[in-house]
């Protein structure tokens, strides 16, 4: 290995950097850099995905169950899902300011159309017989929604949440790259100016690790909470 390589850091350099960023407090602020960045990013990511999931559940069930709502909303959702979210980023920054709201909004706008369409599709897939059957057991529309449709939609929502982790990270890092005071994406794009590959590499590995753990955890949660899904396949 070339010790004078300015682009690729040696493993030793990277280990030093990791020790500095992840395990020692910054002498000026008294904070551990990696931890500050991670918590800032995770807060934005999970808030964005959480809001998107909650709205998806509401809109997806309404669109899937009520033909009137479907006729009205489906075309709107189709068009909105075609808007490239990153092109909206400047608009969000200008209208909502440079703080957390615009970044979280970008994630919500970016992942929600796909999730809504997926969930509404799942609801539409439910056999007509099931709905009729529930009605013959005395179910009101509300009871059909909470006892028949919702429990069968939830596992799909978790899967869709998991699959949207990738896009959500993309939107998060794009937003942080432009303006932030902390965050994993912010840090990567900050040290990029100094070609600090010894920081960028570990950060990329760390982001990947976080994403993998989240994805795995969601899959476990789905299997644990909805054991019948696997049986049906």
């Amino acid at each position: 290995m070339n010790a004078n390589d300015k682009l690729l850091p040696s493993l030793a350099t990277m280990a030093d950097t990791v020790a500095r960023m992840a395990f020692s407090a910054d002498p000026r602020t008294g904070e551990v850099q990696l931890w500050v960045d991670t918590s800032a990013s995770l807060f934005r990511l999970l808030t964005g995905l959480g809001i998107a999931a909650a709205l998806t559940l509401l809109i997806g069930l309404v669109v899937g169950m009520l033909p009137v709502a479907r006729a009205a909303l489906a075309p709107v959702i189709d068009v909105v899902s075609m808007v490239p979210p990153l092109a909206l980023l400047p608009i969000l920054f200008i209208t909502l300011g440079l703080g957390e709201v615009s970044k979280i909004t970008l994630i919500v706008i970016g992942v929600m159309p796909v999730m809504v369409r997926d969930l509404a599709g799942r609801v539409l897939e439910l056999p007509r017989e099931q709905i009729v059957k529930a009605q013959t057991l005395g179910a009101s529309s509300w009871q059909v929604a909470i006892r028949v449709v919702l429990p069968q939609a939830l596992p799909r929502l978790i899967t869709s949440f998991r699959l949207q982790l990738g896009p959500a990270w993309l939107f998060l890092i794009a937003a942080e790259a432009i303006s932030a005071e902390a965050g994993l994406g912010y840090r990567i794009f900050l040290v990029r100016r100094f070609l600090a590959m010894d920081v960028i590499f570990p950060y990329v590995v760390w982001i990947t690790f976080l994403a993998v753990v989240m994805s795995w955890g969601l899959e476990r949660l789905r299997a644990r909470a909805f054991p019948w899904v696997e049986l049906g396949q």
Binding site: V132, K133, Q135, L137, W142, F226, P227
Partner: protein, 257 residues
Amino acid sequence: MTPPLIQIENVWKEFGDQIVLERLSLSIAPRSFVALVGPSGCGKTTFLRMLLGEEAPTKGRILLDGKPLQPEPGPDRGVVFQRYSVFPHLTVLGNVMLGLDLKGAPRIGRLFGARRRAAADLARALIAEVGLAGDEGKYPAQLSGGMQQRLALAQALITRPRVLLLDEPFGALDPGIRAGMHELMQRLWHETDLTVVMVTHDLSEAFTLACRVLVFERLRDRAAEKHRYGAVLAQDMAVWPPRIAGQPTPPKRSQAA
């Protein structure tokens, strides 16, 4: 003579230009077991869906207990379809309890505490009655086709419907399993205060179970006539020797074909 439970008065059903059923008039006595047979596409299932309230007649009217039928499916009419009758996300016990849950808890659709235990006991008794004791914790995907239909029957019966509608309930089952289901169906009909209307394409099944067999047929079935004429009630036969609810006859030699 007891007043009829279901009265069908000159019912026609059309889908757009296509006439499916025409001039249907009949009455069904309480506690009878009526089988509906006929070739594919003769409107058997459409008729059942009208009884269910899923479809409305184009002309004429249907009375249940002398009152016009509710225009949507309700708890007075239970149903078992050939498929998709049970809920994949509920266990056997959950599926059977669902009717009690929905009735007892309009807002959250779920019973708790003592009421839940009472409902569970009722459900367990019915589960045992249809021969699924021991399977209470299983999901439908873990049951065979025949067991799923047993479950569907228990689920439909827990709300004590006036009428039980069966849409080819045993059509997808193996002959051996079907014979067992016939036995169960007979027993339930004799023991429960139940009027049954069953659609089937299996004639021998109709005569094995029912006390009355209705035949739907398109009398004019040439290409040019298909749209203009619907199926009619071509035959209305009482099964001999008469089968009377609550008076099971000892089984003769095997009737299942």
